[in-house]
């Protein structure tokens, strides 16, 4: 199991910043996803209006979540499926294992699911003698490498193609040494060949769900590889894994959200495959599972619903805030230490794990606002980060140096006369000290600044001093 390292954020960051392979990969995200989203959003005239509607749909649903979840459950059951409620990760794991054991399952194929990551379902199934196989290429790669995803829609975006080839050579037993694995196509063919048998022989297929539609009792997945479809239609049992905030009132609402989802995520108009699953296979269906289960996880979300962070439950997991975040683009996803990275992770992780476990995450942002600018459901991420900071301050979970430096600053900032009395001479001294070069290379009290940058010298007297002199 990949242990959470949210409390070691600062050392994670140090490692990430000097990881050359990671830095190269991050540069790719910036040019790819960001560029494509820009084109896709500009091409659709009503994109900004759609974002408003998407926000409104999610806000409305979250305000009436209990009602929509009940309607959803009724409609799943009416179509012959089963809904299971899991209060936490332990309950979710046990429910899934029990379903698998009820059909004597040996192997389980998996579509991409962030909830699957959240409850670490693969580890649990393995511990209980089952073989879980990730079928999304990125997830498959990181499963082989024993890693957590570094991005919520591109889980292996930190891995180079050479590293993928290495992982395949290490784990694919029948792979001839002379087989070339240099080109992406060759890697894809190898993964496809390995996965084909797994798809056909799997006893249970687990997928995530981008949306749960209350009106129809359907679960919806979007993929670009078609792996999700094979995962949910070929095995005898399909388990869709979702969290409570994934429910959406109607099919019409779902299409509105789909129109902003792919554009925000990858810049596609739609993902290659959008698949709606409603109940198990019916008599006239050509394919589909004999059993259809939906496991709906709470895991702390109800608490968010009632508090200051309910807006976070609008998130549709597009990853745009990660792609556009200059902090994410500097340190990558693993540095955040758990399942959800970037701005959305910095807000959600403390909510799900507890602030004590992740107090650094909401601090590590310049609040530049780019995330809010691109969020398809207009989550005010910087405001939510500030709300966590309020709690970090009140509960004294931050670092004491900053806290006391700011308290000291406030002593002066609240007393203008005192402030101006001390500020003038101090600036004149600094200005005099730096007079030769116009900047300082080292200031003991500003080591964080001068470690990496020169400090431009003050001009000398403060504005208030000069203004006073001028008015005399």
């Amino acid at each position: 199991m990949v242990e959470a390292t949210t409390t070691q954020f600062k050392s994670n960051v140090k490692k990430a910043l000097v990881d050359k392979q990671l830095q190269k990969a991050l540069a790719g995200i910036k040019t790819g996803f960001v560029h494509n989203r820009k084109i896709a959003s500009e091409r659709l005239e009503e994109f900004e209006d759609l974002r408003d509607r998407a926000r409104d749909i999610k806000t409305h649903t979250i305000q009436h979540l209990d009602a929509y979840l009940e309607i959803y459950q009724q409609n799943v059951e009416a179509s012959g499926g089963h809904v299971h409620w899991a209060r936490d990760e332990t309950e979710a794991r046990e429910i899934i294992l029990a379903i698998c054991q009820s059909v004597d399952a040996k192997t389980v194929t998996k579509g991409k699911s962030m909830i699957g990551e959240e409850i670490a379902i693969n580890d649990y199934l393995e511990e209980n003698g089952l073989e879980p196989i990730e079928t999304d290429l990125g997830e498959y790669i990181i499963q082989l490498r024993g890693e957590a995803p570094s991005h919520i829609i591109a889980p292996a975006s930190h891995v180079s193609k050479e590293q993928v080839a290495d992982a395949f050579r290490e784990t694919h037993k029948n792979l001839p040494a002379e087989r070339s694995l240099e080109e992406p196509d060759e890697l894809l063919a190898e993964a496809r060949a390995m996965l084909r048998d797994k798809f056909i022989n799997a006893d249970v297929g687990i997928t995530g769900a981008n949306f749960l539609i209350a009106e129809t009792g359907s679960s919806v997945i979007v993929t670009n590889e078609g792996n999700g479809d094979l995962t949910q239609t070929l095995p005898g049992v399909h388990i869709a894994l979702a969290s409570i905030e994934k429910v959406v009132p109607t099919l019409e609402d779902t299409t509105t959200l789909l129109r902003v989802l792919a554009r925000s995520a990858t810049g596609q108009e739609m993902s290659s495959y959008t698949t709606f699953s409603t109940g198990p296979r019916r008599a006239a269906d050509l394919d589909g599972p004999a059993e259809y289960h939906v496991v709906i996880l709470d895991n702390g979300r109800t608490d968010l619903l009632a508090g200051d962070f309910s807006e976070m439950l609008r998130c549709i997991r597009c990853g745009a805030c990660l792609n556009h975040c200059p902090v994410y683009n500097s340190i990558g996803g693993h540095a955040y230490g758990w399942v959800y990275p970037g701005p959305m992770g910095a807000v959600l992780t403390p909510g799900l794990m507890g602030l004590d476990e992740a107090a650094d995450l909401p601090q590590a942002s310049t609040l530049c606002g780019k995330c809010e600018e691109v969020c398809p459901v207009r989550i005010p991420l910087p405001s939510l980060l500030r709300r966590w900071r309020d709690q970090v301050y009140v509960r004294d979970l931050g670092d004491w140096q900053t806290k006391w430096a700011l308290k000291w600053w406030a002593v002066f900032a609240k007393r203008p006369a005192l402030y101006h009395f001390f500020a003038g001479p101090k600036m004149q001294f600094l200005g005099w000290w730096a007079r030769k070069k116009g900047h300082l290379k080292y200031i003991p009290s500003l080591k964080g600044w001068t470690r990496n940058r020169n400090f431009p010298a003050p001009q000398g007297k403060t504005f208030q001093q000069l203004w006073k002199e001028k008015r005399k």
Partner: protein, 268 residues
């Protein structure tokens, strides 16, 4: 409080900002010249220090409120409040109302103040309709859009419309203009290495243009960018970084007050 100009235009309170007060008063004087030329009567309340943003962004709401109250007291009677910073103007305009959301006495006062508070370049264009600046500058320039000004206040076109009036100034946009430089207030000290990584990207993007001068509307970001440029030049690491790339606040250029050395440079 002293009245700076005898004319009868709107009465403007200049919110100097702590960084300009402490680090670079020339920006304050440039702002005053621009505002006076636009016909405003300027006052500079002495009871101002800081807008309270460092405390606000660090979760210290009590100190943020105490400081904000001082600002409200000092500035609420002016026709307008202008700051040579998108970040500080954004704090007053966008965040004071949130800070006092549960305070019935303060709410109308902060909304009143928020409505009449402006970032300098947007005030000159949107309110004063400044048309014919007399400044000259024979240089290739580029502009860094600071995050709060850009995203909280929508300041983008205004500084460019003003720079277009500066004779000889040739604006070349750079790709990273809208990307955060990594300053972020206390962030740049607390997460120095992430901040460094971000400012390096900004500086690399700047080096891709032919610009000789980087301008912006927020001194914090400009100090960060200049500090990095200067350090890289010291280290001699970046061969493509023109040692001639200088950094100034946009107000200095617009006011034609460029006799002081650029940010981080010595006299002579």
């Amino acid at each position: 409080m002293t009245v700076a100009s005898p004319n009868s235009g709107p009465k403007v309170g200049l919110f100097v900002t702590c960084l300009v007060d402490l680090m670079r008063p020339s920006i304050g004087f440039a702002a005053i010249k621009l505002l006076e030329d636009a016909g405003c009567q300027i006052e500079v309340p002495e009871s101002q220090t800081c807008c309270g943003q460092p405390a606000y962004n660090s979760g210290d709401r009590q100190n943020a409120k105490d400081i904000a109250r001082l600002v409200v007291d000092a500035f609420e009677d002016y026709d307008y409040v202008v700051a040579p910073s998108g970040s500080c103007a954004g704090m007053i305009k966008e965040h004071y109302p949130k800070l006092f959301a549960d305070d019935l006495e303060m709410t109308p006062r902060v909304y009143n103040l928020a409505q009449k508070t402006h970032e300098l370049t947007s005030f000159l264009i949107d309110v004063m309709n400044t048309q014919d600046l007399t400044a000259k500058l024979e240089q290739k320039i580029t502009y860094h859009d600071s995050c709060a000004g850009l995203r909280e206040l929508g300041v983008k076109a205004q500084p460019r419309q003003l720079l277009a009036q500066v004779e000889g100034a040739e604006l070349q946009e750079y790709e990273g203009a809208e990307t955060c430089c990594g300053f972020g207030g206390t962030f740049c000290v607390k997460y120095s290495d992430i901040s460094d990584h971000m400012v390096k990207q900004s500086v690399e993007s700047l080096a891709e243009t032919d610009a000789e001068l980087v301008l912006g509307g927020d001194l914090g970001c400009l100090m960060n960018i200049q500090g990095k440029l200067s350090r890289l030049q010291d280290e001699g690491k970046e061969t493509n970084l023109k040692a001639t790339l200088k950094v100034r606040h946009v107000a200095e250029v617009l006011a034609g007050m460029i006799d002081t050395p650029p940010i981080g440079e010595a006299d002579g």
